[in-house]
C-alpha cells in the first residue's frame, strides 16, 4: 500500500506491506534505528514515538495508519544540533544507563509534560508506567522529568 508520512519534518512516500508495523517502517524502511524494540506484547514502551504530537507505542500502530500523519522519532528531537530540554535533563540527572529504553522514555516524558506541565512525582511515575527500564530503578528518570518540568 502507498503511504505518505511526514517523519521528523521530511515527507516520505512509501509502498509498504499492510502488515508492517510503524516501528518496523521507521527502523527498516527509513533507517531511523533510534526507536528500539524491547518486547512483542506492547508492554515495554521502548518503541514510543510521537504520532501527530502524542506519544504512542509504535508497535501498536500499522504503518498504513500513519498515512498522512506527522511522526517524530528520537532523531527528530534535537534542533540545530542542540538536544531537546528533556534529553538534556536526562543527561544532567543521569536518567539513563544502557540507553535502550531511553528514546521511548524521552518521547513518553515529553508527551506527559505536554499534557501536564507541572506534574507531581506520583504523576510522573504513573504517566511513565507504560515504559519499562531495567537499569535506573526509575529514580533518576523521575528526577529528570521533574527537572525538565521545572525548567532546570
Amino acid at each position: 500500500m502507498k503511504i505518505s508520512v511526514t517523519v521528523n519534518g521530511t515527507v516520505h512516500e512509501s509502498d509498504v506491506e499492510p502488515r508492517t508495523l510503524l516501528v518496523h517502517y521507521v527502523r527498516e524502511t527509513l533507517g531511523l534505528t533510534g526507536t528500539n524494540v524491547g518486547c512483542d506484547t506492547s508492554s515495554c514502551g521502548a518503541c514510543s514515538l510521537h504520532l501527530d504530537g502524542e506519544a504512542v507505542k509504535s508497535c501498536t500502530v500499522l504503518a498504513v495508519q500513519a498515512d498522512g500523519a506527522q511522526v517524530t522519532t528520537i532523531e527528530g528531537m534535537a534542533t540545530d544540533g542542540e538536544m531537546h530540554p528533556m534529553q538534556k535533563a536526562f543527561m544532567e540527572n543521569h536518567g539513563l544507563q544502557c540507553g535502550y529504553c531511553t528514546p521511548g522514555m524521552v518521547m513518553a516524558a515529553t508527551s506527559l509534560l505536554k499534557e501536564n506541565p507541572n506534574p507531581t512525582e506520583a504523576e510522573v511515575r504513573l504517566g511513565l508506567e507504560g515504559n519499562l527500564c531495567r537499569c535506573t530503578g526509575y529514580h533518576n528518570i523521575v528526577k529528570s522529568v521533574l527537572a525538565c518540568a521545572a525548567g532546570e
Binding site: 508492554s43 528531537m77 543527561m91 544502557c98 540507553g99 535502550y100 530503578g137 526509575y138
Partner: protein
C-alpha cells in the same frame, strides 16, 4: 571542558556527566540489531514446545519450500560444524556431571525453548514464517520441575548421566564438623529455616542480537553480539567451532543491559558464526522478548536450608547451610559455579567461628540458570539476614541490636574469616548506624507500637539487611582453587599520542555502566590532562585484544585499577625522558598537573605534551629507551573487593488485601573511594529496584509440565515507575587497602541488600499475627494467603 589553568581541576570523585549519553539520547547509538548488513541472511529457530521429549523426526521440506528460505537444518545435520559441545567453564568438582549440549538439540529436547531446528532466510519475517512450517514429531516425556523431585531421580533427564544430580560441593572447614554438631547441641537458641530463591528472568531491555560477518577471502570472521563478554566469547567460540582464534574478531556495538544474562556463550552466537562460515554470507539473529524468556538464562533457583546456633546472649556460634541448586536442563558458561560465589558469604557481616556449607545441584527440564545480578551473593545474604531476624524474634530483642552484638568490629579488619578468605576492610556498625539515622529507625519503632494494635488492618514494618559482598572477581589463584577454568585479571593500555591526546584501551566491556566516562576520569587525574583529551577504546577484540570483560562488579576494582597502574608506567617512562632533556636526576623530578618540575628549580619544567612529542620523534631519548609513550598492564588483584552496607526498608501491609506498600527505602553502601558518585548512585538505584522486584513482584512461574506461564513482559512483572518508591541513599567511605585507588565494586550491592531488607520488613509488619516467614515474591495473593493461614491457625 577547556583547561585554562596549568592544573586542571580535580576530576576524580566529581559528578561528571557521562560522555556516553548524547549518542544514546539522540538515537545515534547503534545496538547490534541496528546494524545495516546488506545481503545478510536471517536466522530463526524452531523451539521445543515440550519440557522433555524425544525428537522422533524433523521434517524440513515445507520450510525449505517457503519463500525466501535458503537453508534449514535439524540438530543432527549440524554435527559436523561443532568441534566441541557448548562450553561450561566451571567444572566445580572433578566428578561433576555435564551432559553434552549442542546449539541445536540432537535426539532429545530438555526444556521448553530448546532449539530443535534452524532456518536461514532472506528476511527475518520469512525465517520466522518458515519455522512455523517445520514438522517435528516428539515423544513427550515427563517434565522435572521440582528440585526435590529432580534429586529423587524419579525421571532421569539425561540418560547418559544416569542421574539428575550434577554435583555436590562442600566447604568443610577442618575440625569444624564435630564442633558444629556440638555448637548446635549446646546452643541456647537455634534457628532452622527453609528459603526458596525463586527463578527470575533477567529481562535486560535489549533482547539479545547477533550478527556474524565473514570476510570473503582468508577465513576471518567478525561476530557482533549483544554480550557482556566479547573476549571470553572469542576464545570459547574458537574452541567450540574449531576456528583458529586469531581469525575470530568479536565486537559489541552499544549493549542494552546485561545483568549477567549476557555473560554467556549462547547457541545463537555459535549458529550465526558456523552458518555464516558455511554459507559465506553474513548471518544475523534478533531475539524476540517471549523467546528471550525461555532462550536466555534464568537467575537464582535455589532451595536453602539455613541453620544458626547462638548462645544466650545472642552471639551466633555456628552456621550450617545446605543448598539445592537448580541448574536447568544444561550447564551454560558458569552455571554450576553460581552457588559457589555465595558459598563463603552465609556468615554475612558477622564474627561467627564455625561454618559448614554444602551445595548439591540438579538438572531440571527448565531453561538453564546462570549468573544474574549478584550471582550467589544475593542468595547468601538473603539467607543469613532473614535468619538473623528470626533469631532476634525468637529471643525477643531488636534485630538491629542483635546485629550489633555480632558484627565483625572495625578494629578486627583485615579479618581472616573461618573460610580462609581475608576481608580487607569494613565498618559495619558505621553503615548500620547511618542507615538507622536516615530511616528514623527508632521513630518507626515508636510509630509501630501505636499503629500495630490488635485489629489494625494497616501494619507497619521495618526490615534491615547488612551485607558483605565478595566481588571484583579476580584473584586468579583463588578462582583456580574453586576450579574455575579462567583467571580474573584485567588488561589496560595507556597510549599518549604525539599531540598529547590519549588513548586508553581496556579489557572491560561496558553495557550501561559508563566506563568511558569513569576511565577517562582516572586517567585525567593520573596524567593531569583534561578528560576531553582522552578516548576510551573497548569491546572490540581487534582493538582491545586482551581482557576478561564485565561482570561480578569487577570492572573498576580490576580494570580501572589496571588503567591507573598503566598511567604510573607512562609517568615512569616520561620521567626518564624529562630527566634526560632537563639534564636532571630522575629522583629530583616531581610530576604534578601534567608537568615535570625539577625540585628546587621551578623554572626547569617539561610538560607531558612536550614529552609525548619527543617520545614520538625519538630524536633525543636516553640511550636504550624505546620510542613512543605507551604502557601496558595486566593486573591480577591479590584479593577480592569487599564492599558492604546496610539497607533499611519500611513498609505498610494491608492485611485485608495483602498489598505491601514501601514507605521508605534507605541504602547505605560503602564501595570505598568513588570515582564518580553520579554513576555509583545510579548503580545502587538500579540494583535496589532489581532486588526489591525479586522480593515483591518477579518469579518465573512454571506449570507441572514445565511450561513457563509468564513468558512475556505482559505477564512477567518487571516493575514500572509507578510500582516502586524513590530511594534514599547514604554512603560511608572505607577505602580498599588492596588497590591504589581505594575502590570496591558497586554493580551488585543494591540487589544484594534489597530482597532481605524488604522481606524482613514485611515479616516484621506481620509478626504480631504470628507470621515468621514469607515466600518471595510477596505478592498481595501470597501475603493475603499467609495472613489467612496464620489467622485460621490461631483460631483453632
Amino acid at each position: 571542558m577547556t583547561v585554562t589553568d596549568d592544573r586542571p581541576a580535580a576530576v576524580l570523585g566529581t559528578r561528571m556527566l557521562r560522555r556516553e549519553d548524547p549518542a544514546l539520547l539522540t538515537g545515534e547509538a547503534k545496538y547490534t540489531n541496528d546494524l545495516a548488513l546488506p545481503g545478510a541472511l536471517s536466522l530463526a529457530l524452531a523451539r521445543s514446545p515440550y519440557a522433555h521429549a524425544r525428537i522422533l523426526s524433523v521434517d524440513l521440506s515445507a520450510a525449505l519450500a517457503a519463500p525466501g528460505v535458503v537453508a534449514a537444518y535439524a540438530g543432527a545435520d549440524l554435527s559436523s560444524l561443532w568441534a566441541a559441545p557448548m562450553p561450561c567453564a566451571w567444572p566445580v568438582t572433578a566428578d561433576m556431571k555435564n551432559p553434552a549440549h549442542y546449539p541445536v538439540a540432537i535426539g532429545k529436547a530438555a526444556y521448553v525453548g530448546d532449539a530443535v531446528a534452524v532456518v536461514l532466510a532472506t528476511s527475518e519475517s520469512a525465517a520466522r514464517d518458515a519455522v512455523e512450517l517445520i514438522d517435528v514429531q516428539y515423544e513427550p516425556l515427563p517434565a522435572v520441575v521440582d528440585l526435590e523431585d529432580a534429586l529423587s531421580d524419579r525421571v532421569v533427564i539425561h540418560d547418559e548421566l544416569g542421574t539428575n544430580k550434577s554435583y555436590t560441593w562442600d566447604l568443610k572447614i577442618e575440625d569444624h564438623e564435630g564442633a558444629i554438631d556440638e555448637a548446635f547441641a549446646s546452643a541456647a537458641h537455634v534457628v532452622k529455616e527453609r528459603y526458596v530463591q525463586q527463578r527470575l528472568l533477567p529481562m535486560a531491555m535489549e533482547p539479545r542480537a547477533v550478527a556474524a560477518v565473514p570476510q570473503p577471502f582468508g577465513g576471518d570472521i567478525t561476530l557482533y553480539s549483544s554480550t557482556q563478554v566479547p573476549h571470553i566469547l572469542k576464545i570459547m567460540s574458537a574452541i567450540t567451532l574449531g576456528i583458529p582464534e586469531h581469525q575470530v574478531r568479536v565486537t559489541t556495538p552499544a549493549v542494552g543491559g546485561g545483568f549477567g544474562s549476557k555473560l554467556n556463550v549462547y547457541a545463537e552466537e555459535l549458529l550465526c558464526l558456523a552458518l555464516a562460515r558455511k554459507h559465506k554470507v553474513p548471518v544475523r539473529w534478533n531475539e524476540e522478548r517471549t523467546e528471550n524468556a525461555v532462550a536466555t538464562i534464568h537467575g537464582r533457583g535455589q532451595i536453602q536450608h539455613m541453620e544458626l546456633a547462638a548462645d544466650a546472649a545472642g552471639k551466633i556460634t555456628a552456621v550450617r547451610v545446605r543448598i539445592l541448586g537448580d541448574m536447568g536442563a544444561y550447564l551454560q558458561l558458569v552455571t554450576p559455579g553460581i552457588p559457589l560465589l555465595g558459598a563463603f558469604l552465609y556468615a554475612g557481616v558477622y564474627d561467627i567461628p564455625l561454618y559448614d556449607f554444602s551445595c548439591t545441584s540438579v538438572f531440571t527440564t527448565l531453561t538453564p540458570t546462570d549468573a544474574y545480578r549478584g550471582a550467589g551473593r544475593p542468595e547468601a545474604t538473603y539467607a543469613i539476614e532473614r535468619a538473623v531476624d528470626t533469631l532476634a524474634r525468637q529471643m525477643g530483642i531488636d534485630p538491629m541490636e542483635l546485629r550489633k552484638r555480632n558484627f565483625i568490629k572495625k578494629e578486627q579488619f583485615p579479618y581472616t574469616a573461618m573460610t580462609g578468605l581475608v576481608y580487607d576492610s569494613g565498618n559495619h556498625l558505621a553503615a548500620a548506624e547511618k542507615a538507622a539515622g536516615l530511616a528514623d529507625y527508632e521513630g518507626v519503632r515508636a510509630r509501630q507500637a501505636t499503629q500495630n494494635v490488635p485489629g489494625a488492618t494497616t501494619l507497619l514494618g521495618i526490615g534491615q539487611a547488612s551485607y558483605f559482598e565478595m566481588c571484583g572477581l579476580a584473584p586468579s589463584r583463588v578462582l583456580a582453587s574453586l576450579n574455575y577454568s579462567a583467571g580474573g585479571w584485567e588488561a589496560a593500555t595507556v597510549r599518549v599520542l604525539p599531540t598529547n591526546k590519549i588513548q586508553v584501551v581496556t579489557g572491560t566491556a561496558p553495557h550501561g555502566q559508563g566506563h568511558e566516562t569513569s576511565w577517562s576520569m582516572i586517567v585525567a587525574d593520573k596524567l593531569g590532562v583534561s578528560p576531553d583529551d582522552i578516548d576510551v577504546l573497548h569491546s572490540d577484540t581487534a582493538i582491545a585484544p586482551l581482557g576478561l570483560d564485565t561482570y561480578g562488579s569487577r570492572s573498576l576494582p580490576v580494570g580501572g585499577v589496571a588503567i591507573a597502574m598503566a598511567c604510573d608506567k607512562v609517568i615512569d617512562k616520561a620521567k626518564k625522558i624529562a630527566a634526560h632533556q632537563l639534564e636532571a636526576n630522575e629522583d629530583d623530578l616531581e610530576f604534578s598537573g601534567g608537568t615535570f618540575t625539577v625540585k628546587g628549580s621551578p623554572g626547569k619544567t617539561m610538560p607531558l605534551a612536550a614529552i609525548a612529542f619527543e617520545a614520538f620523534t625519538a630524536h633525543n631519548l636516553p640511550d636504550g629507551l624505546e620510542p613512543n609513550l605507551e604502557a601496558h598492564v595486566t593486573y591480577d588483584p591479590p584479593n577480592f573487593s569487599w564492599p558492604f552496607g546496610t539497607h533499611i526498608c519500611t513498609v505498610e501491609v494491608d492485611t485485608e488485601t495483602g498489598q505491601v506498600t514501601v514507605l521508605q527505602y534507605v541504602a547505605v553502601d560503602d564501595c570505598g573511594n568513588q570515582v564518580n558518585p553520579l554513576i555509583v548512585e545510579g548503580q545502587v538505584h538500579g540494583g535496589v529496584i532489581q532486588g526489591l522486584a525479586q522480593a515483591l513482584f518477579e518469579e518465573a512461574v512454571y506449570d507441572d509440565d514445565g511450561n513457563l506461564k509468564n513468558a512475556s513482559l505482559a505477564e512477567y512483572l518487571v516493575p514500572a515507575a509507578s510500582d516502586v518508591p524513590g530511594l534514599t541513599l547514604g554512603f560511608t567511605v572505607t577505602p580498599s587497602p588492596t588497590n591504589q585507588l581505594g575502590v570496591k565494586g558497586i554493580g551488585e550491592a543494591g540487589t544484594i541488600g534489597a530482597a532481605p531488607a524488604v522481606i524482613n520488613a514485611v515479616v516484621d509488619a506481620l509478626s504480631s499475627l504470628g507470621i515468621t516467614n514469607m515466600p518471595m515474591p510477596a505478592s498481595p495473593h501470597t501475603v493475603w494467603n499467609a495472613i489467612q493461614h496464620a489467622q485460621n491457625g490461631a483460631s483453632k
